[in-house]
């Protein structure tokens, strides 16, 4: 799917030439280790770099030039995957051929260069007012998680259950660390990123791989990277508390459960665990949906998800706060069904069909193509979707039951309104 060119040690350009889309998508990904300090610095850095630069020194000036380039979308986000922290410049621009204007693509690529390499410096530091403002933005972004009770509950469980582990470090770092970043340390983090981070550059659209790769090689001046730092220890330690109950001013009860599977993305049994999760609670035909929601009418949402980077599985449900115990017992009962091999042919076939469908559908967006390739590149350099589909096809019920028997509940976290809070 993607044609890869190495333009420096640790810097690759991957191009998928296709006429499927009316736009051209770019993603430039700077990868570093996921530590609280790195995440905190890079979350601010992402905001500072997308605010303005040397050529367009105000946010308004930068946004005006983007509007003029047919509303080219440009944003920088910071995300995480496994023990990687990824600062990602995303750009999407309309393909010239749909416009009366030409030369849009070259202007866009030039702008990407300016955004990354010509920041809005004043005496070799980021402009102080912008630095301060964006530092504050990240603090507020972290604080705002509280307003989304599902995200908040999940974050609380991870903090309490796996403290310090990459699974619990968020891509924005922590309030404490964000506040400790100085303009000087941010500039150092910026240079470190440009010079030392592994860089994966993705391009999807009707463009020539040779032309794009040559352009990036000649204009972006990426130098050879030294060896990347060692992988982090991601061994899972059982949580100290197996059950935590917390209260906030709210109506619904949020039940979050964490399991060790212990199969990761890199293990032979990875496709087996994907199927196990799908049958258990991954889809609307799954055991959790059919029983906890449809049969018991206890929940609007109840589902399981598999975090394959660390071999974790989560179950989330929104329930009446008085029904925690009943819900936990019903959920574990469904897991027991799978452990005992009570899986129908229909459940197995449905889950295989939906995993396959999901993968193929994801490839119908440029962003999906990039995300999937970026993830699976690690398993096989010439990754094709058929690789996964074939492996799902061969999985048996016995394998799934066996995998389920290795799954262990490690923690339940319940967030709900206080008892005296009045019901409606």
């Amino acid at each position: 799917m993607f044609e890869t060119n190495k333009i420096a040690q640790g810097v690759h350009v991957h191009v998928h030439q296709t006429t499927q889309f009316k736009t051209i998508n770019f993603s430039i990904r700077f990868k570093d280790r996921l530590t609280v300090k790195n995440a905190s610095e890079r979350a601010i850095l992402a905001n500072v770099l997308q605010h303005s630069n040397e050529m367009y020194p105000s946010h308004t000036a930068l946004r005006m030039v983007l509007d003029d380039l047919y509303g080219t979308s440009l944003y920088i986000d910071s995300t995480k995957r496994g023990d990687d922290h990824i600062l990602n410049l995303n750009v999407e621009t309309v393909n010239d051929q749909y416009l009366s204007d030409e030369g849009v693509l070259e202007k866009v690529m030039n702008l990407m260069y300016i955004v990354l390499f010509k920041p809005n410096f004043e005496n070799e530091l980021f402009k102080e007012s912008i630095f301060k403002r964006e530092q504050e933005s990240i603090v507020q972004r972290i604080e705002s998680v509280f307003d989304d009770k599902t995200r908040y509950a999940q974050q609380r469980m991870m903090e309490l259950g796996l403290p310090g582990h990459p699974a619990s470090i968020t891509s924005n770092g922590s309030i404490e660390q964000v506040k400790q970043v100085t303009n000087e340390s941010l500039v150092a983090a910026y240079h470190h990123m440009l010079e030392n981070n592994e860089v994966e550059i993705y391009v999807v659209g009707d463009v020539s791989p040779e032309v794009i790769s040559a352009h990036i090689r000649d204009y972006f001046h990426f130098t050879d990277r030294k060896e990347l730092p060692e992988k982090m220890e991601t061994q899972l330690q059982p949580p100290e508390q197996s059950r935590v109950l917390e209260y906030e001013d709210m109506k619904q009860g949020k039940l979050h459960m964490m399991f060790f599977t212990p199969v990761t993305f890199r293990d032979e049994d990875f496709p087996v665990m994907q199927l196990m999760n799908g049958i258990f609670g991954g889809y609307a035909h799954s055991k959790l949906f059919a029983n906890i929601r449809e049969k018991e009418s206890m929940a609007y949402y109840v589902s399981s998800s598999y975090a394959s980077q660390f071999g974790l599985m989560f179950v989330l449900a929104g329930i009446d706060r008085k029904l925690e115990e009943k819900a936990v017992s019903l959920i574990l009962g469904q897991l027991d069904e799978i452990k005992q091999g009570h899986i129908t042919d229909t459940e197995l076939d449905q889950t295989k069909a939906l995993l396959t469908n999901q993968l193929k559908e994801a490839l119908d967006s440029a962003r999906g193509q990039i995300d999937i390739y970026d993830q699976y590149m690690e398993l096989s350099e010439d990754f094709e979707p058929a690789y996964l589909i074939e492996r799902w096809e061969s999985v048996t019920k016995e394998q799934i039951a066996q995998a389920a028997n290795n799954i262990s509940l490690q923690m339940t976290y319940f967030l709900s309104g206080k008892e005296e809070a009045k019901d409606e």
């Binding site: 889309f21 009316k22 749909y98 933005s137 507020q140 307003d147 709210m250 109506k251 929601r293 206890m298």
Partner: protein, 433 residues
């Protein structure tokens, strides 16, 4: 079968109205593996007062019934329809809005089987008192979940502020109390009135061959019998021009106060091309006044009145609409005051010229082109537009014709002081951290 070609966009739309009244649209997307289909009725939460099919007296049905009906369509005597879609490798879903109820699937194979399931399950209602009772627990949890979401409360709080009588002010899912009154009989009444093929549209987009698919849908529909199409009589109360409530605050646990300034449009009777031109023109005017390149945004950012949650939007349907400008902020009063000031100044002295228009027009064309990569966007947006007599593929040509005076005229209809309202959510504590 009719064919509409949009050469500049390299898209071709096939469509036909079948003898039973159903309108079918097919848009092939070359290079795509998936097919996305929506089967939509022009029936949403606002249609709560109407004359049932074949009767003379108007009825008022319990709040939240359109959404309740959507949930119940998935359960049949033989089981759950999600299971059926999963067997054929499709992901299915549904949603209810103020004006529409849509049933949908996406799949990368067995498209005919999945289209059959979609058409057949929506066209075979099965409601019993027992299954209706059972659903109440599930929907009560859904309502409770939304009650805990401050952004949802902010949005609905603002709509309640703007509308005095129009049912748009009623929460789409109703309340835990209102859904208790829903019976199987209610569901059948709503179903028979609003799910007639002549009140519905089928949109299929993606990896699909138009001729054979159209024939396939025709055959499916020809094998079923429906009553002759009859016009639906909906009753809407009179709605004053002014906002119902000028200002209101809700206390709820939030990290930082949240505020919306809303503006109610003066003309709520627009339809077709006139509506499209107005909506696009007003959106461009709001983009110039409140977008990321505006003086307002610059000031608000520099002074810390807004954060990353800042947003603005203008949308219009038949009978209601709203412009919304909002943010999380520690200075909700200041923010609201400045938004109102910006609107007032633009009314007093129109500040935008040709160059401004050209820039935001280009931005909007680019946004539209990007959106056309998404089968979901095309199907849902096209259907919404079609129900209001507009054609989605007219967006670019209409944008190209819009002049500065159009922006000014559209803005004049969505700016009067008496049509404005402010809604704020704050934590109960007096002191904000």
């Amino acid at each position: 079968m009719n064919k509409m070609e949009f050469n500049q966009l390299e898209e071709t739309l096939y469509h036909e109205q079948l003898p039973n009244g159903l309108t079918v649209y097919i848009l092939p997307k070359r290079g795509f593996s998936k097919t996305y289909a929506t089967f939509t009725t022009k029936y949403g939460s606002i249609d709560n007062h109407f004359v049932p099919l074949g009767e003379k007296q108007a009825v008022q049905v319990p709040d939240g019934i359109a959404h309740f009906l959507e949930h119940k369509m998935f359960e049949k005597e033989e089981g759950d329809i999600f299971q059926e879609f999963s067997k054929n490798g499709a992901s299915a879903n549904a949603f209810t809005s103020f004006t529409r109820t849509a049933y949908l699937f996406s799949a990368t194979g067995r498209i005919q089987e999945n289209v059959t399931t979609l058409l057949n399950f929506v066209q075979s209602p099965y409601f019993t008192e027992q299954t209706v009772e059972k659903e109440k627990g599930i929907i009560a949890q859904e309502i409770t979940m939304y009650d805990d979401q401050p952004d949802w409360r902010l949005y609905f709080g603002m709509i309640e502020n703007l509308y005095q009588n129009h049912p748009v002010k009623i929460d789409i899912a109703g309340t835990v109390e209102s859904i208790q009154h829903i019976t199987a009989e209610h569901l059948y009444t709503c179903y028979h009135t609003f799910y007639h093929p002549s009140n519905m549209a089928l949109f299929i987009v993606g990896n699909v061959e138009p001729d054979s698919m159209m024939q396939f849908v025709k055959d499916n529909q020809a094998a079923k019998t429906f009553d002759a199409p009859a016009p639906i009589e909906r009753i809407f109360p009179d709605e004053p021009k002014e906002a119902a409530v000028k200002e209101r605050t809700l206390e709820m646990a939030v990290q930082k106060p949240k505020v919306f300034v809303g503006v109610k449009p003066e003309r709520l009777d627009l339809h077709g091309p006139e509506m499209l031109k107005h909506e696009l023109s007003a959106q461009l005017a709001y983009e110039l006044l409140f977008g990321r390149t505006s003086n307002f945004y610059h000031e608000a950012y520099e002074n810390g009145w807004i954060d990353e949650s800042y947003s603005f939007d203008y949308s219009l349907e038949s009978g209601f609409g709203y412009a919304l400008i909002g943010t999380d902020t520690n200075h909700p009063e200041k923010f609201a005051e400045e938004v109102k000031k910006a609107i007032h100044q633009a009314v007093e002295k129109w500040p935008f010229g040709q160059e401004d228009l050209d820039r935001v027009r280009r931005k909007k064309i680019g946004f539209f082109m990007r959106a056309l990569n998404s089968p979901e966007y095309i199907a849902n947006q096209f259907t919404q537009y079609a129900f209001n007599g507009m054609n989605l593929f007219d967006v670019v040509p209409v944008l190209e014709q819009i002049e500065v005076a159009d922006l000014q005229n559209a803005f004049a209809l969505v700016s009067a002081e008496s049509q404005q309202s402010v809604f704020t959510i704050k934590s109960p504590e007096k002191e904000q951290a």
